[in-house]
């Protein structure tokens, strides 16, 4: 019973995390670029929407990882999964991709977005550099999310990759 609750929370948090990741990449970033190109000046995204979205984004990422790690520990053995042993290699591959993505969120995206959004002091040059790093880390996570979700859900369905 306990494990299904952990798995449920893991999936709810994962939907929140990856849903916001896709929002940033397919809605917000292109919209901001379009608005700048059209000379539309708005403060609502950097001042209100982005900070709130990033709050849910980064904490959902952490909850997703922690609940996923507990689930792996209880069901597969954390070592088996992260060492890609036997049939745990499938879910373990997804776990490694998710771990890289969590690193990108907390080490590359969030600290640089704080500079871009003006939440911490930064020069214009630091903001420009931070925007590029955060953008590429976010796009990297979008790319990694595709195989990550595949390996998270493939266990019982793929010939030769069964659980």
């Amino acid at each position: 019973m306990e494990l299904i609750l952990v798995r449920w929370l893991h999936i709810l948090a994962g939907i929140t995390w990856i849903g916001l990741l896709y929002y940033f990449n397919v809605v917000q970033a292109p919209s901001v670029a379009q608005a700048k190109a059209q000379g539309v000046n708005g403060e609502i995204i950097p001042k209100v929407i982005a900070p709130r979205a990033l709050l849910w984004f980064r904490w959902a990422a952490l909850v997703t990882w922690l609940t996923g790690a507990y689930y792996l520990y209880a069901k597969w053995g954390l070592g088996n999964a992260f060492m890609l042993k036997g049939t745990a290699a499938t879910i373990g591959t997804g776990a490694w991709l998710g771990t890289i993505m969590l690193f990108n969120v907390w080490v590359l995206i969030w600290p640089n977005q704080k500079k871009v959004l003006g939440l911490v002091e930064a020069t214009d040059e630091q903001k420009a550099k931070g925007a590029r790093i955060a953008f590429l880390a976010s796009r990297t996570n979008t790319m990694l999310s595709i195989p990550m979700v595949f390996f998270m859900v493939s266990g019982a369905h793929m010939p030769g990759l069964g659980s």
Partner: protein, 35 residues
Amino acid sequence: MKNPLDSITGTIVSGLVLTVILYFVVSKFLIHLAG
């Protein structure tokens, strides 16, 4: 050379290619390695 991650299409194609590569590695190498 343009960075594929600069476009959504390039990002998705890169993700799909990576999925195929990892699928091959996991199914043909890691699982069989463990017997």
